[in-house]
């Protein structure tokens, strides 16, 4: 396998490409349609949003199902185990599914 080396590319650019690759491969919760089901792989980030999502039980291995999107397209409603949770799409974009 040929190893790709980025000449002439600064660190930021490299980071950007890597992130783009992750995004391409992993499916995020905000990309699901109503009725779709997924399993949480991890929550990206370190901040208050992650803290809250994990407290609400969105830990690795938890199955989730998208119920619907709000009339104006945001936020969305999901089912987690035995309860319904609403969250903004920007927050759902931190939840990576496997």
């Amino acid at each position: 396998m040929k190893r790709v080396v980025y000449h002439n590319s600064n660190d930021n650019d490299y980071q950007y490409r890597i992130r783009g690759a992750i995004k391409y491969m992993a499916k995020m919760l905000n990309q699901l349609k109503p009725g779709d089901v997924g399993i949480v792989c991890r929550v990206i980030g370190n901040g208050a949003v992650k803290r809250r999502l994990l407290d609400m039980g969105l830990v690795a291995g938890t199955p989730v199902k998208v119920q619907k999107y709000a009339p104006l397209g945001d936020p969305m409603e999901i089912k987690v185990k035995n309860f319904n949770l609403s969250l903004r799409k920007a927050e759902a974009a931190l939840i990576e599914l496997s």
Partner: protein, 778 residues
């Protein structure tokens, strides 16, 4: 026998039915206050059971016990500081997984815990079968099955409480966090001074330190000989980070949920996954993509109608009652300063406090219905996209809407916002919603200075200006006051429930009492202060002797009547000529009856004249003179009242601030009006009425409009400037009193008053100066 006095802390997730159970246990024996220094509500209640006094402390509903939210910190410090004999943790049985997350954290506080498994009927309906005995064994705590909304299981819970309190056994539950984390916990534990008296359980402290809990770090940092300890903690955290590739707090959370998942797999047997519940079916309509928003606006319209349209009837009764009462006092009290204090100051102030009560009762009836049914979360769900653009939470829409009716219930309604930052920003901008008390001011000025065709447009522009400025200020406050803080919206959508009458009544009662006790006293005191400012000093030096002038007027007219009527008729008083006296009486009656119909008066007068032309001439002359005398004396009264107000402290204040108001086109008279109107904005109309000598309280608005239009100080531009100023400047005293109550801080109360007044000044300044430059509306 154990102790007779048992303290029980009641903990649980939001929507777990904790409040319902608390109400079932304590009934009306509740006390609501605030925890010191924060706006989190502190609720406690007493219940006598089997000769024991049980004191229940209702902790704020939380999902976790981290230091990330005020509610969570308050809940856990209450458990530590108030040393309850035991904790009752209310869990929603139909959603056990997530509810157990808090239970595990409560168990770690090493106090006896009873699990109150609530809503077991809902769980059964969802097809969940719970092995309660096994769960109790796994967690090592007693469990009571309950259905809070049907008041089932309360007795059994109380019996268990007494049993556990008598045993005084500590819970033996320890969650195993795995080899690496446990090693780190042990390492930190050995760092504590073995003899030191710590309020907190050591294992819990160690876990919290590993979780990087800011509050606990600060507390531990203040313990003697702990610099080493925090270094040990940091090292342990780094090690765990490299081992797990994730911050230890998240590792610990995942570990807890793994344990819960394992327990639940053994304890719960369920039928099928992704069951669409009754709530989901209701939501297919209520949060539907197409009709979700129309339904929401329909419900909001209904709420507004209930609060204000229905509310105006009891409001009217209260106002009438207060008027009758003050009328009674007026007739039985001798004239003087005490009477003025009682009637204008105290009764007026109490009336002012009471008039808001129907609105508050009805608003909290509506809010309790929305919250207890579960719709409130849906309202936030459908509105969040719009409110997010403004920098506010979806739930902020409801209090802001209510603000168009009255800011007082609006500010009280911000309680529905759990996040204190969201709540504060909403409180700060709520007064920009133009309340109904400001409407009489707009209509007075618009009618006086603008053509009727323009009236609607101007009125709409005012309301719009308030909304736009609220949006601008909300964004600004969010940026300046809480920079860099991202608000999470993550919100549970609780299952729909039929609200119980009991909880709604308790909710309404509690809010109203809080308003009367906390805000009411403040409003009353402030109203009396304003009354004092406009009525004193009482010994104003008038420009002329009004009493003398009034006597002189009386005398002049009696001479005039004597010369022109009595002498030609050869009488000394009216009663001496029966025909004359009857004719005068008829004229009086005619005047009173025919007030609205001048044509009818004329025809009837014509008939009277035909009947007896000679007597009619004298009688009408006599009646005209009497009326003219009364008018002249009334004019003197009004002039005196105007001078008195000008000489009062409020008048002096108006003159002092005149230079500041001049650039807005206002003179000192408007200054006095604006000052008095802080008591209640509609007072501006009556104060201007007094100062322009057109009638006192409840004066004739149309007459005042004419006088204002004739005053050279006023112009359409000044009217515009004044309208904008009254829209924006300091909220009324009642609103400020509830801001004080809801923010629990004088700082924010004063800030609200000051910032809005500055904003009002700037906006009015711009309007007047730019208008003057361009030569518009002069």
């Amino acid at each position: 026998m154990g102790n007779h006095h048992v303290i029980v802390a009641l903990a649980g997730n939001p929507n777990s039915g904790k409040t319902t159970i608390f109400n079932n246990i304590t009934g009306s024996h509740q006390r609501v206050g605030n925890y010191p220094g924060v706006t989190v509500e502190r609720r406690e209640g007493v219940r006598r059971f089997k000769d024991r006094e049980l004191l229940f402390l209702d902790l704020p509903g939380t999902y976790s016990l981290t230091a990330h939210s005020q509610d969570e910190v308050v809940a856990r410090t209450a458990i530590i500081n108030e040393t309850p004999d035991l904790i009752v943790n209310v869990l929603d049985a139909s959603n056990l997984d997530r509810n157990m997350y808090l239970a595990l954290q409560l168990l770690e506080l090493e106090r006896p815990v009873i699990l109150a498994l609530n809503m077991v009927d809902m769980a059964e309906k969802r097809g969940l079968k719970l092995n309660v005995a096994l769960l109790s064994q796994k967690l090592g705590t007693p469990i009571v099955k309950m259905v809070g909304r049907h008041n089932r299981g309360t007795r059994q819970l109380l019996e268990t409480v007494i049993n556990v309190a008598d045993e005084q056994a500590c819970n033996e539950f320890r969650l195993d966090y795995g080899a690496e984390v446990e090693r780190a916990i042990a390492e930190i534990n050995s760092g504590f001074n073995a003899t030191a008296d710590l309020k907190y359980p050591r294992r819990w402290l160690a876990i919290k330190l590993l979780e990087n809990d800011e509050e606990i770090r600060a507390i531990v940092g203040q313990l003697p000989q702990t610099e080493n300890l925090l270094a040990v903690v940091d090292q342990a955290r780094d090690d765990l980070y490299t081992q797990f590739g994730e911050a230890p707090e998240f590792v610990i959370t995942e570990c807890r949920y793994r344990f819960i998942s394992a327990v639940c797999n053994e304890v719960i047997s369920s039928e099928g996954e992704w069951v669409q519940t009754a709530s989901d079916k209701i939501d297919r309509v209520l949060t539907n993509r197409l009709i979700g928003l129309p339904i929401f606006f329909g419900i909001m319209w209904l709420l507004f109608q209930i609060v204000f349209t229905i509310g105006q009837y009891p409001q009217g009764w209260i106002e009438q009652g207060v008027a009758i009462f003050s009328g009674l006092i007026s007739t039985y009290m001798p004239d003087g300063e005490l009477k003025s204090l009682v009637v204008d100051g105290i009764i007026g102030g109490v009336g002012g406090v009471l008039t808001f009560l129907p609105n508050i009762l009805l608003l909290f009836l509506g809010i309790a219905l929305l919250e207890d049914s579960g719709y409130m979360a849906r309202a936030a769900f459908v509105m969040d996209r719009i409110m997010k653009a403004v920098g506010l939470h979806g739930k902020a829409f409801i209090p802001l809407l209510v603000g168009f009716g009255c800011n007082v219930p609006a500010i009280m309604g911000t309680r529905t916002l759990e996040n204190p930052r969201d709540r504060l920003v909403t409180i700060l901008v709520a007064p920009m919603m133009s309340c109904s008390a400001r409407l009489p001011i707009y209509t007075l000025l618009i009618a006086a200075f603008f053509s009727p065709e323009l009236a609607g447009t101007i009125l709409f522009a005012i309301y719009l200006l308030g909304v736009v400025l609220a949006i601008v200020m909300a964004k600004l406050f969010r940026k300046v006051l809480f920079p860099g803080e991202t608000e999470t919206f993550v919100m549970e959508m609780p299952a729909y429930h039929m609200p119980t009458i009991r909880s709604i009544v308790i909710h309404m009662w509690e809010r109203s009492m809080l308003y009367l006790k906390k805000a009411g006293t403040l409003i009353l005191a402030a109203s009396i202060l304003v009354w004092f400012m406009v009525s004193y000093p009482s010994d104003v030096s008038y420009s002329r002797d009004y009493d003398q002038a009034k006597v002189q007027t009386e005398v002049n007219y009696s001479f005039l009547i004597n010369d022109e009527v009595f002498t030609p008729l050869h009488i000394r008083m009216v009663e001496e000529n029966v025909d004359f006296s009857k004719m005068v009486d008829k004229l009086k009656v005619l005047d009173e009856q025919g007030k609205n119909d001048p044509d009818e008066i004329q025809t009837k007068q014509g008939k009277l004249e035909q009947a007896n032309p000679e007597i009619y001439t004298f009688a009408s002359k006599y009646w005209a003179l009497e009326k003219k005398r009364d008018d002249d004396i009334e004019a003197l009264d009004k002039a005196q009242a105007s001078e008195k107000l000008a000489g009062s402290y409020a008048g002096q204040f108006g003159k002092i601030v005149e230079p500041v108001l001049k650039p807005l086109g206002f003179d000192w008279k408007i200054g006095v009006g604006l000052f008095a109107a802080v008591a209640a904005k509609e007072v501006l109309v009556s104060t201007l009425g007094t100062i322009y000598s057109v009638g006192g309280v409840g004066g004739d608005s149309a007459a005042l409009g004419e006088v204002l239009a004739a005053d050279p100080t006023f112009s359409p531009l000044v009217a515009c400037s004044l309208i904008v100023f009254t829209l924006l400047y300091s909220p009324c005293l009642a609103a400020l009193a509830v801001v004080r109550r809801e923010t629990n801080s004088w700082k924010w109360t004063i800030f609200t008053s000051v910032y809005s007044t500055i904003l009002a000044w700037v906006m009015a300044f711009l309007i007047f100066q730019i208008g003057t430059l361009l030569g518009i509306g002069l």
